[in-house]
């Protein structure tokens, strides 16, 4: 097993061979990947060393201290948090070699083509079709596996306008119940059949997109896992998404509560007793959430993962909405303003760099995106508390016969 000491030595070797001050950032990131120091728990040859995941922090600390460039994990979050673990677990050797390195260095941005206008929380109801056409043994028609022709519409796609690749769920068999006939693909976003249109949201900006897929041709070699196994594979992707959303480590009074506390300290004239009570309640809730996330982190570190991952996301959404609403009230007249309604296309959600009105509006999405709060409550009730599932009428009906 790799030790912290060995990782320090390897990191020092990398820094000696590629002085961060004199190396192009991209070149440095590629070298870091090739040295197995990108995500140390990944296998050798794929950016890792098969080391314990907890040791990544050792490498990150050493590199940060040496001023090494980072790959801006927030910008490539979907690739890192969702695509990479799925490709690693279900991809072929060829797929892993092709996709993981440029994904990690940030050369290739990923997006996620799951949700549809008619399939949000009931994701398995998705209607985008993928129809198979066989190829020939000589390599024509995309080789012996042939290709798939995809038609449909996806929605709420962050980063689609920047992405090189997408993970895509599509229906490959409409004659079986909805969870069974889905397959999982990697879609080339530069394909001429892919049409990305900005979707303006209530904040005024267009963070998301609609994606129209018309006759998109995906080689069978870009299928992840077996045909019809897409739903099971998607569970891996979605579980990783929730861990990524809830897993931040914040200091006390960090994030939204910090902004709110500063407003309180700086504006004594706006203080009322009622706002004070709500502020203290919010401060307490924020600290309890911080401690809950910290306890989850400690459980993970000793190999006792708890079900608090879904809980952390649920609690975060509730708190963010409570705190941002309070901030607008606390600002009084100033809370009536709004910086800019012009449609822009941000690469990142910037909670702290914008005004209170933006935060209030954007936080409404926290309880919808990445698994709605209602779905997360079902997950807790059924998987943690062991309560029975709601009866569902469409579970055993062939997809094409189900009511939609």
């Amino acid at each position: 097993m790799t030790t912290a000491e060995e990782l320090r030595t390897r990191t020092a070797d990398l820094l000696a061979a590629h002085d961060p001050a004199a190396t192009e950032p991209l070149e440095f990131l590629r070298a870091r990947f090739d040295a197995g120091l990108a995500w140390v728990h990944f296998p050798p040859g794929l950016g890792g060393l098969g080391a314990p995941r907890a040791l990544q922090a050792v490498v990150d600390a050493e590199l940060a201290a040496a001023g090494a460039p980072d790959n801006d994990p927030r910008r490539i979050g979907i690739g890192l948090g969702m695509a990479a673990p799925t490709v690693l677990r279900f991809g072929t050797e060829e797929q892993k070699q092709r996709f993981l390195r440029p994904l990690w260095t940030g050369e290739e941005v990923w997006c996620q083509l799951f949700s549809e206008p008619g399939a949000g929380s009931d994701l398995a109801a998705l209607a985008t079709r993928a129809v198979h056409e066989a190829g020939d043994a000589e390599g024509g028609g995309d080789g012996p596996g042939g290709h798939w022709t995809v038609d449909g519409q996806k929605v709420w796609t962050s980063s689609a306008h920047l992405a090189r690749w997408a993970i895509l769920l599509a229906r490959t068999d409409p004659d079986v119940p909805k969870h069974q006939g889905i397959s999982y693909f990697v879609c080339d976003m530069t394909d001429p059949g892919v049409d990305v249109r900005p979707l303006r949201q209530l904040t005024g900006e267009a963070e998301f997109n609609e994606v129209f897929l018309t006759g998109v041709r995906i080689p069978d070699a870009h299928r992840l896992g077996a045909v019809g196994e897409g739903w099971k594979i998607a569970q891996t992707t979605l579980n990783n998404e929730r861990v990524a959303i809830g897993g931040h480590r914040t200091p006390r009074e960090g994030g939204l509560i910090g902004l709110l506390a500063d407003v309180w300290r700086e504006q004594p004239g706006a203080r009322t007793h009622e706002l004070h009570q709500r502020l203290l309640q919010g401060w307490t809730d924020a600290e309890v959430l911080r401690l809950t996330a910290e306890r989850l982190r400690q459980q993970l570190a000793v190999g006792q993962p708890g079900p608090e991952g879904a809980a952390a996301k649920l609690a975060f959404a509730r708190l963010a909405q409570q705190l941002t609403g309070l901030e607008v009230e606390l600002l009084a007249e100033e809370g009536l303003g709004y910086g800019d309604w012009t449609m822009s296309r941000p690469e990142l959600v910037d909670f702290t760099g914008r005004d209170a009105g933006y935060r209030y509006l954007r936080a409404k999405g926290n309880s919808i995106e990445g698994g709605s709060s209602e779905i997360l409550r079902n997950i807790i009730a059924e998987r943690v508390l062991g309560l029975p599932a709601e009866s569902r009428s469409d579970k055993d009906v062939p997809w094409k016969e189900s009511a939609r």
Partner: protein, 379 residues
Amino acid sequence: MTELDLLYSEVEEDLRSAVRAVLADRCPPQAVLARCEGPEPYDTGLWRVLAEEVGVAGLPVPEALGGAGASLRESAVVLEELGRACAPTAFLGSAVLATTVLLAADASAELTALAAGERTATLVVALPTAPEAPFPLGVRATGTGELTGTVAWVADTPAVGLLIVPADGPAGPGLYAVEAAEATLTPRGSLDLTRPLADVCLTGAPGRLLIGPDRAEAVLRQALLTGAALLCSEQLGLAEWCLATTVAYLRERRQFGRVVGSFQALKHRLADLWLDIAGARAAARAAADALASGASDAAILVAVAASHCSDTAVRAAEEAVQLHGGIGMTWEHPVHLYLKRAKADQLALGTPGRHRAALAALVDLPAPGAVATPRVPHV
């Protein structure tokens, strides 16, 4: 900010198992219910087993005095189990509040007797007293240590041997040891049937000065802060029992041709409660660990945990009564014992509102019109 250990150690889990086994054997909910209206509200037999066989009476007492030399983290785990069983014992008053004062006073003889389970003690303050409350001056002490005055709403007085009394002496506030036999104890009707309350009346009772004016206020405050912190663990155990019992009931009970627990409206309520309890577990552990390690931000963590755990326990008990339907309103189902304990605990050692008000000063979020306090470093 201190690195907190929010998990349970193996030693703590072993202690939990031992306490839980004794309570399952000697203190099932029906037995608590049967006892609570009787002449002996506290189960002294149970206390003897817990003290002598498991050693819970002297957990933080040094081994040289017959204790376990443990930290407050272990006491917190015991309280989780006592809360889960709604057990009628004097642990909070004797092994937490009074013991904290006796440890500060180096009162070896008293600590030895307490650790052995031979005696119990209690701190003579009104149970709702918050840690940051001013030193209570209702009892006056003469220069020769004779105490006179009355303190109402004192917890854990039945069968108690030793009273620890805050009193105002000629040189200033002090903490005195008084034999319970020297005082008049008048029981009060108590909302919490499993933690009786009494008025303590002293008329020239002989007292021995344990802590003098130089440290009395600080020691009393530390005892109340410790009590408030560890009460969170009792509230956590209580809330966990309420959730588990309710979930079990909703998995059995059928209405409208299906198991009631399959209705989304109820599932979502229980999921939210589970979320609050997950927070209570983290907060209660943080408060206990911060006190055990002497962390500089302990008062902040206690205030946070006390307000959150108090409210969570009450909500858990209220949800349990509601979701049990009619049976939840009956005397024969023990859930009312938990509701009464939870509501009384919410008032004990500072209400949630008082703890949040204390927090306002600790983290510099002053109330309207308040003079700003200097910013307390808390990171």
